[in-house]
Symmetry: C2
Subunit: 373 residues, 2 copies
Amino acid sequence: MTQVWNFSAGPAMLPREVLQQAATEMLDWHGSGMSVMEMSHRGPQFMQILQEALDDFRDLMQVPQTHKILFMQGGAIGQNAIVPLNLMNGFESAAFVKNGSWSSKTIKEFARYGRADVVAEAREIKDASGLRPVNTYVPTIAPGSIAAGSAYLHYCGNETIDGVEFRQAPDMAALGAAQVPLVCDASSNILSRPMDVAAHAIIYGGAQKNIGPAGLTFVIIREDMLDRARSDCPSAFSYRQVYDNHSMYNTPPTYSIYIAGLVFKWLKAQGGVAAMAEVNRRKAQLLYDTIDGSGLYVNRVRPSDRSLMNVPFMLREDALNAEFLSLAQERNLLQLKGHKSVGGMRASIYNAMPMEGVEALVDFMLTFEKERA
Amino acid sequence: MTQVWNFSAGPAMLPREVLQQAATEMLDWHGSGMSVMEMSHRGPQFMQILQEALDDFRDLMQVPQTHKILFMQGGAIGQNAIVPLNLMNGFESAAFVKNGSWSSKTIKEFARYGRADVVAEAREIKDASGLRPVNTYVPTIAPGSIAAGSAYLHYCGNETIDGVEFRQAPDMAALGAAQVPLVCDASSNILSRPMDVAAHAIIYGGAQKNIGPAGLTFVIIREDMLDRARSDCPSAFSYRQVYDNHSMYNTPPTYSIYIAGLVFKWLKAQGGVAAMAEVNRRKAQLLYDTIDGSGLYVNRVRPSDRSLMNVPFMLREDALNAEFLSLAQERNLLQLKGHKSVGGMRASIYNAMPMEGVEALVDFMLTFEKERA
């Protein structure tokens, strides 16, 4: 088969070893005579698969015992409603950092549940380049700006469209808001590097970038957040119900959990999250160095805030975009077109993208620029 | 590999041909170099997979053009909230048929959104057998009992735990409620036989019984039902949003849709839903005839209301249950234990269970009874 390098922002590449194992086990998981897809979610085989996935995820992210792990459905966009439905009981407002498309969507959805205090906002730059304005940095939260009565502070850890990533979680104590729970949408950088889970009340995300198939949502939640639900929170989306029923209040997406479990085991075999972080750092650096050293490609994100997962770049001559994409495709470099809201290109380089794929892209970028110089 | 017959109530058996094709295509779908799991949901390959799945589902169920098909997440339990969130704008009540666990759950969840009028309710029988009381029939809706101002009438087409199935949808005109939209939870009998889709405003269900992997929800919806949402309906669960975004308001469960698509093509190759209905009728009849002709096994559901998908039966001597299950397992007859709320046994015989599997079960049941006579 053809070796392609798939730079999709998600669903995205999966480790080949994982797909090979899934193919081998498709008709007969461990001599059970069944595909994992066919197993009762309450049978002993799937219960084992689920428990191992939960345990391995906990190990990899070093989730402390104060925090529970839930598997849900509906993605991060579902959580935009599910988080406030579960946390806003008795609160009038929550605080938000706004620095891109995803955090903006979160804030917009929140309006049904209370007052959104935007405590830090990135302004899109409009510079002399003539390029489309984009979000380019993580805005600073001013100490004291988070109201003491806020239900929580929400931030999107990595804005996939703009390629802007928080290197560290907001320091709630330093911001004078130690008691305000911190909530993170980590859809696109979960497992890409160690995170301070204990500093968060909730870390959630869709699985389809760094974990596994689309249709699985993870929620890492501190135990005291299980009991703050509004009375209108649907049972299926109640963290308490989901937790009390071991993520089986409704039938869980069993096959997606199985694939996630295989990915977790693959990550452990690679040396875990710290080892992945080092590979991810080198992959991103090669790509950003190539862009910064070029006269054709440009990325305007503040270097300290550049995403290690999603690397957007523009061509200084927009007219070359179509040719770039077409020639890239010929070289089996796929899904490089930027999000329609910002244009240009975007290379998503999640855990499953090896250095070899980034090198193939860089090689092509250099050749393309040289031939047009 | 061992041939097992998996009688799980769901997730459940899938056609072997479907699993074989999925295994073959796991690393490389149609020469794309990608697994379907890795594809961008907005790329041309997945768009084709999605469209074919929608078209084939429409063909199989003969869905009229007045009705749209949505793919969502969260299962039927999610829909217990999502249906009223989408339909209750401007209404105070909805009407319900209550005849088992699933319809009872639907009614309970509805309480957040309005007054539930139970217009027909089955009473659990407590007979002289000494067996646990169970639901045994589809209750009759009295003409005129559905309030004209009801937002909708809801029924669960097949109660999987009790094995009670509506043979036909309630006739709303005959009930004097022609204008009240009819909503059906068809999780466990969709695609098992032809249904009068046009008589319904909404038919929804989880995919994990007759369609494919858990984590996919289908909603067949008449167009005028897209715009009756309450203002507190979350965007991710808004039928209008999901429809306007071609079931991609959030990232859809792409791999589950792919498997569902393979199942749809398999069903067409079997002759479609009418042909499956005939096989399903024969499978169920063999099993019910065996039970009715036995002195050991008993099913108390009214014959005209017996489910063709889920066949629960008790052993007249409860003490034999454990031995029955253990010997069945030795013969690779799996997942026959009844739901914990009713006990006994249950054989779920969805589309993917061939007659051969039912024959193997019947053979075992006859032998087991004979040896204990």
